[in-house]
Amino acid sequence: MSKRLSKMGWIVLVALLSLVLVVWPACGGAPTEQEEEEEQGIPYKNDGMFVQMTIGEPETLDPAAGYDTTSGEAVLYVYEPLIYYKGELLGATPDEFTPLLAESWTWNEADLTWTFKIRKGVKFHEGGTLTPEDVEYSFERIMTQDRVGGPALLIDMPLVGVELYEDTTWAAVDASVEVSGDNVVFKVTNIAFKMIFLQTIANSWGVILDKEWCVANGDWDGTEADVKNHFQVEPNYLWTHMNGTGPWKLNQWEQGVQIKFEKNANYWGAPAPFDWVINQLAEEWTVRKEALLAGDADYVAVPRQYIHELDGISDLQVNKDMAGLLVFGFFMVMDINPTSPYIGSGKLDGNGIPGNFFTDKDVREGFREAFDYNTFINDIYYGEATQVGSPVIAGLVGFNPDAQKPVFDKAAAAEHFKKAWGGELWTKGFKFTMLYNSGNVMRKAACEILQKNLLSINSKFQAFVQPLSWGTGILPLIKTKDATVYIIGWQADTPHADNFVRPFMSTAGTFAQFQTYGNAELDAKINAALLEPDPAKQVQKYYELQQIFYDDCPGFMLAQPLNRRYFTKYIHGWYWNSMHTGEPGPLYYMSKSQS
């Protein structure tokens, strides 16, 4: 007996010891991280380098193909557009831009043309010299290659009036951009695009390539005959190779690991402030945090749920409450695919919903008023977001600060539901599934808040919440209209209200089309607002559109987040521009030193 007890005793003793070793640090037996950090501080490391750790890497290095912010950020280190946003300004007027590869620009109202005088003496990294022909080539290239899902439509719209190259001709593309001596002349299709065009090209899709280098590496040769050989062909040489005029040049892209840029010693402007810019991919938050605190990274991406882990660390500079041109909204699909597996029985019998469930405005308004906006903003964004009533958000010309906003009111929601579907909805109830992209804390929370409130309004209102992968799960379901509702975020391409109104409200809008929302009359109002030459009247037109969105209620806006950026104290010169959407910000104007 005593021998058996002794064996058992050993096992129990070792197990208990292990448990204590594991649990003790969690009980506060060790000094807190903040206490340790305040003692030791963040060391200064990697002099002359800017190291950032983020959770994404570029999809492509081809400016004509990349539409994601990470690709855009990489492109803007190496390539340059003709102009860029000046400081914190959003390009509301022509002088709110900084000249880059263009020395000056003038507008001709009669011809609807912008003429850019191209800077001389600028060298590409591989040795070529910038010419106006390079500018012409760069814009014609993006329009004719028109990569699937790429940014070409942003250039197409102002210059040829359509979104796809297939809907226009080579002649129209060719005529929209012409070289004239030292200048390049762009002809926009409508005066409404006067400032939109400048705002558009001040971004990664407006950068300038070396035509000779592109052609020498198998890219489009600049002729009409060769267009078909490169139309929507991917990938190409430029996907993984870069040759720009910018302050940095590509050193190495180690896919999945990091991308490194080194200083361009022959840059035409003031020397780059960093000899090296290194973007490292680190999906795990703990790794990023420890790297920031160890001084191995100067900037890291900080998911909102972890911001409090960095509170009180004195060697960090925290920039917060920056309003971005980004909004998230909840949208209801009005003609759900009748075979969708997410609508239960597919009938209004208490065990499902019919495909046209959300065509009843009382249903939509009930959902809108069943959402607790304050709890969502406080719990998910820690109060760092604002509620907006429509897609026209704060920071856009045409934003109405007094626009009607949804209010969380379960009683009002109940009244709408009682009227919906001739009263049947209230007695029968419903069941359906709301999808969100797995891993997305915000979208999950939004669905769960709504789920809970609907159930508390009427116990027969059962909305299930299910995660799915975004790319291979939810996106196809939106396309096939199997998704019943979806939560979408929209980041500005240009700081213009049309860039927000059109996707959400126009019949062919990016999101509205998948909801089957929109009509000809509304489309006409949207176009009229865009084309209104009188700024004051234009603002009024956008005010009206905001009210229409509220009245129609195709969806409701969840929040316009405020942004944060975390740097070590050694980084200086950072500023916020809501059009500089990539992380960390305008590196060329920043610096790093121990002082």
């Binding site: 050993w10 197990a15 899902g149 896919q255 490194k260 703990t286 420890e290 790319g471 291979t472």
Partner: protein, 348 residues
């Protein structure tokens, strides 16, 4: 059977294996609709309208046999396709990501095997004593530890608490710049080996500093299995008649255990060790992700979760090749360890 002929026969078996695996995986991916498979090429809702064009371009709505035949035709011409998640050809992606995985595997495998054999032997030789109990508890703990938890704890301690002592990643920034410069020759892209071949001590030390934590993480979890297997195998060997004879002849216990019992007990461990190396060489997704040691496991996971079918197929073929190769090596080793086993009879 002659060794050369045996090796050739086994390698030829690879062809039907690859065919079967790729057919199976291709078939599985066909369960996804063309739209779902086309979504690999878009990232945003605003690109949804391009899906029909994507489907048409890549023939995603063609019959299964047509799509498979097209892919197979390209493979036979040496083109494994384009890896969307890696932004490079699949063939290049395999060679791009493999060195990181191999670097961990090269250090972890002998550590796992040797410590597993040592502790398993020790446990068996001290059966039912505190040492045996201790190793068994350690084995249970090690086997039960989630790799992501262990990895994060190690980072918090050795990188966080000890101020960057053992960092994640493969090299420090300065060494990374050096090894990618003209002053350093890349032979294998395995940093430790290349550092030795370049006779560069600082790079070697830096690479070792970075590989320690991933190796420890992988080893702790897998060591337990070898330990337990070795213990069982040793206990069986120690119960055999020839061991009794050896003891009766007055041989020292150390010689009985290490020379007589252990050699026979190693046979199952060799088999498992081979599979262990193959499994490690196929990637350690969680470890690679947590420690920023992006290897083939990370790439395969990204490919699978994004339905990057060419990458998935490429990885499957690579994986099959590794397992066939390892099986072959193990079978040959068998004949060396146990003279009773002949080539061609190893499977029996």
């Amino acid at each position: 059977m002659e060794l050369r002929a045996y090796i050739l026969r086994r390698l030829l078996l690879l062809i039907p294996v690859l065919f079967g695996i790729t057919l199976f995986i291709f078939g599985i991916t066909m369960l996804f609709s063309p739209i779902a498979r086309a979504s690999l090429y878009i990232r945003d809702v605003r690109q949804l309208q391009d899906l029909p064009a994507v489907i048409e371009r890549y023939g995603l709505d063609h019959p299964f046999i047509v799509q498979y035949g097209t892919w197979l035709g390209q493979v036979l011409q040496g083109n494994l396709g384009w890896s969307k998640v890696a932004s490079m050809p699949v063939w290049d992606a395999i060679w791009h990501f493999l060195p990181a995985t191999l670097e961990i595997a090269i250090f972890a495998t002998p550590l796992i095997i040797l410590t597993g054999i040592f502790f398993g032997t020790t446990a068996a030789a001290h059966k039912d004593k505190p040492l045996d109990h201790g190793t068994r508890v350690a084995a249970i703990l090690g086997w039960s530890l989630p790799s992501f938890w262990l990895g994060l704890v190690l980072i918090m301690i050795f990188y966080g608490f000890f101020r960057g002592f053992l960092p994640p990643g493969r090299l420090s920034i300065q060494m990374d710049i050096l090894v990618n410069s003209a002053a350093f020759t890349r032979y294998t892209h395995i940093n430790t080996i290349d550092a030795i071949l370049n006779l560069n001590g600082p790079v070697l030390l830096d690479a070792l500093r970075h590989v320690v934590l991933p190796v420890v993480t992988v080893s702790v979890i897998n060591m337990a299995f070898i330990m337990r297997l070795m213990r069982s195998s040793m206990l069986e060997a120690l119960g055999k008649g020839y061991i009794l004879t050896a003891r009766a002849k007055g041989l020292a216990e150390r010689i009985v255990v290490n020379k007589h019992a252990r050699r026979n007990a190693l046979i199952p461990v060799i088999t498992v060790s081979g599979y262990l190396f193959a499994a490690l060489a196929n990637g350690m997704v969680i470890t690679e992700t947590i420690f920023r040691y992006k290897g083939i496991g990370w790439w395969a996971w990204m490919a699978a979760s994004n339905l990057d079918i060419p990458s998935v197929l490429g990885f499957a073929m690579f994986s099959a090749f590794i397992f066939v190769l390892v099986n072959l090596v193990v079978d040959i080793l068998y004949t060396r360890v146990d003279p009773r086993v002949k080539l061609g009879e190893a499977v029996q």
